[in-house]
């Protein structure tokens, strides 16, 4: 059984990674976040903050402001990658349905739960590998723009990345299981890829959205993933900025850049974000398990003509 699961995970992962287009499209959203930041969002954010500081009569914090904005952009890149990589990796599930590989699995003595478990593990593994590479690139960027992370925060980022990937993989494998055609999957992929950057506040801080929209984003697990990344990757740069400016100014920025959330009047801090993310991961994995136990019963009834 273990060998069967291992071979299936290996197969799903190989099929995803061998297609270079898959990797490109999986990383397209994070690349767009990066591209937009380099082209204009970065300058907009930096200029806006420097303007506010000059109005307060504070100058000489250009490097800290840039590091702060850079780390905000990198949290968006990371949070995006943790969703879009698993999403693209789910494409193997649809290809298998279209090519009749699902029929081959049904005709083979493979336990009903195994294909879904293998899809989940492969999607999560692909997410962890590629998001891990993106995280390394983010660390290199931070090292050049002004390193301010503690060892604990580095491990925190790695943990958040794994937790985010597990949560999004659970949700996406669950959703993809209900899709039947490549067209439907492409549609979901396009909508998700486009909307995800806005929902998690990668293109602009969630604090700039109207209150109603801000509340909507709170029901999306990626928001908590992005919030947690911000608390870990931006904390050091925020502290450095506080040294050059005022604690009050930075506190305002933390809210504006969604390092804490307002959940209908309650303030959500990093620890709560980590709990929400872990709970969503567990719930989605449990839902997948429930489905694998419901489906064989349905199948058995079908085989008996009931």
């Amino acid at each position: 059984m273990g060998q069967m699961l291992f071979q299936m995970i290996r197969r799903n992962l190989k099929i995803f990674l061998k297609d270079k287009a898959n990797i490109f499209f999986a990383l397209l959203s994070p690349l767009i976040v990066l591209g937009l930041y380099v082209i204009f969002i970065g300058r907009m954010q930096t200029d806006g903050l420097l303007q506010a500081l000059s109005e307060m009569g504070i100058s000489g914090a250009e490097k800290e402001v840039r590091s702060f904005c850079d780390s905000w952009m990198l949290t968006g890149v990371m949070a995006c990658a943790c969703i879009t990589v698993p999403l693209c990796a789910c494409g193997v599930m649809i290809q298998d349905k279209m090519r009749g590989i699902t029929a081959d699995l049904l005709a083979s003595p493979v336990p009903y739960w195994l294909p879904r478990a293998a899809y989940f593990c492969a999607v999560a593994a692909a997410g962890i590998v590629l998001s891990g590479i993106v995280l390394c690139i983010c660390f290199i960027w931070l090292a050049f723009s002004g390193w301010a992370l503690t060892v604990g925060e580095v491990f925190g980022c790695i943990g958040t990345m794994i937790l985010s990937v597990l949560s999004s993989s659970g949700l996406l494998v669950l959703l993809t299981g209900f899709l039947k055609t490549e067209g439907a999957f492409t549609g979901v992929n396009i909508v998700f890829g486009t909307v995800v950057g806005f929902l998690i506040g990668a293109y602009m801080p969630i604090g700039s959205f109207p209150k109603g929209v801000q509340y909507v984003t709170l029901f999306f697990p990626g928001t908590y993933s992005a919030g947690l990344f911000r608390n870990l990757m931006m904390r050091g740069t925020a502290d450095l900025l506080a040294e050059k400016t005022t604690a009050q100014f930075v506190e305002g920025l933390e809210k504006q850049f969604s390092m804490t959330f307002d959940f209908f009047g309650y303030e959500v801090h990093a620890s709560a974000m980590a709990i929400v993310l872990a709970v969503t991961a567990l719930v989605f994995i449990a839902c997948n398990l429930v489905i694998t136990f419901i489906r064989p019963r349905k199948k058995a009834l079908l085989l008996n003509g009931k």
Partner: protein, 304 residues
């Protein structure tokens, strides 16, 4: 009569209002080459998908090697090998990787798998293509790899769903020869669905399915005797005029005349009685095309 490896009793399956299979019953003898013959949409693939536990049935019973599909499908699966009409191997992976993954489904790993891979490689001449990506193989090579996938678990019953459809005539012939060789070498039961008459003609037993119902069932020879005509072709100078003179019914054929003969005995008698007309002749038994046309009223598809 030999023991049956597969018994299908009164099988029904509908897709909404479309009745795909309507009360099909048949059995397949152990070690035989069995053909399920019918045009596209006749109900062949639906029947085998039910046998392979891919589709549910509406009613009826199926037994594989004495095991009831309703209650023992998990025990039946390791006894069956399937070669699907469309390949189910992964284009980006090598043939070896593809087969190794599928071998794990049957608990065949490590040294046992290396041994089995060697056997399959020899049986189907896979050595040259084992390390090549499946997607880069030719049609015939792909089919050989597909057949190897079906044989991984040394099945007692190998089901081939239209294995030669979509292949060029030369490749079709080569794949068909591979299937026949395999059946002869391994004495495995081969259950074949096809719409090519030549393939059905080489089988031990043929079931013709039409509109979801069995239209005829027997050995190819018996089917031809029952449903087709035999022809005696006579060639020679003015043969048609000479036949007209003795008032024998005939049809014009290329370069001669064709006379319908009911039996071989009748032909022998004719040859004796009209030896002067039979200086150059050809006797041809009816083929499966005639049988199919006579049984279903539909023209057979394809031809090698």
């Amino acid at each position: 009569m030999k023991e049956s490896i597969l018994t299908v009793e009164n099988l029904y399956k509908s897709y909404g209002k479309v009745a795909a299979v309507q009360g099909v019953s048949f059995s397949v003898e152990k070690g035989s080459l069995f053909s399920f013959l019918g045009v596209n949409g006749a109900g062949k693939s639906t029947t085998i998908n039910i046998i392979c536990s891919i589709l549910g049935k509406d009613s009826g019973k199926i037994y594989v090697d004495g095991l009831d599909l309703d209650t023992q499908s998990e025990k039946i699966k390791p006894l069956i090998g399937v070669v699907f009409q469309n390949s189910v191997l992964d284009n980006l992976l090598t043939v070896k990787d593809n087969l190794t993954i599928r071998a794990s489904f049957y608990g065949i790993n490590g040294k046992a798998w290396q041994k089995r891979l060697g056997e399959l490689s020899e049986l189907l001449d896979l050595k040259e293509i084992l390390n090549r990506p499946f997607g880069r193989l030719s049609g015939g090579q792909r089919r050989r790899a597909d057949i190897a996938r079906g044989l991984i678990n040394s099945p007692r019953l190998l089901i081939l769903d239209e294995p030669t459809t979509g292949l060029d005539p030369q490749t079709r012939l080569s794949v068909w020869n591979t299937v026949k060789d395999l059946q002869q070498k391994t004495e495995m039961t081969v259950f074949l669905t096809t719409h090519y008459m030549e393939e059905a003609d080489s089988s031990d037993r043929v079931v013709i399915i039409d509109g979801g119902k069995i239209a005829a069932e027997d050995t190819p020879v018996n089917l031809k005797n029952k449903y087709s005509k035999n022809y005696l072709y006579l060639y020679g100078e003015n043969i048609c005029e000479r036949l007209k003179d003795i008032r024998l019914p005939f049809e014009n054929a290329k370069g001669g005349a064709r006379i319908v003969m009911q039996t071989a005995e009748e032909t022998k008698k004719f040859l004796k009685e009209h030896s002067e007309l039979c200086t150059d002749f050809e006797y041809m038994k009816g083929n499966m095309d005639d049988v199919f046309l006579s049984v279903t009223g539909k023209k057979a598809e394809g031809g090698i």
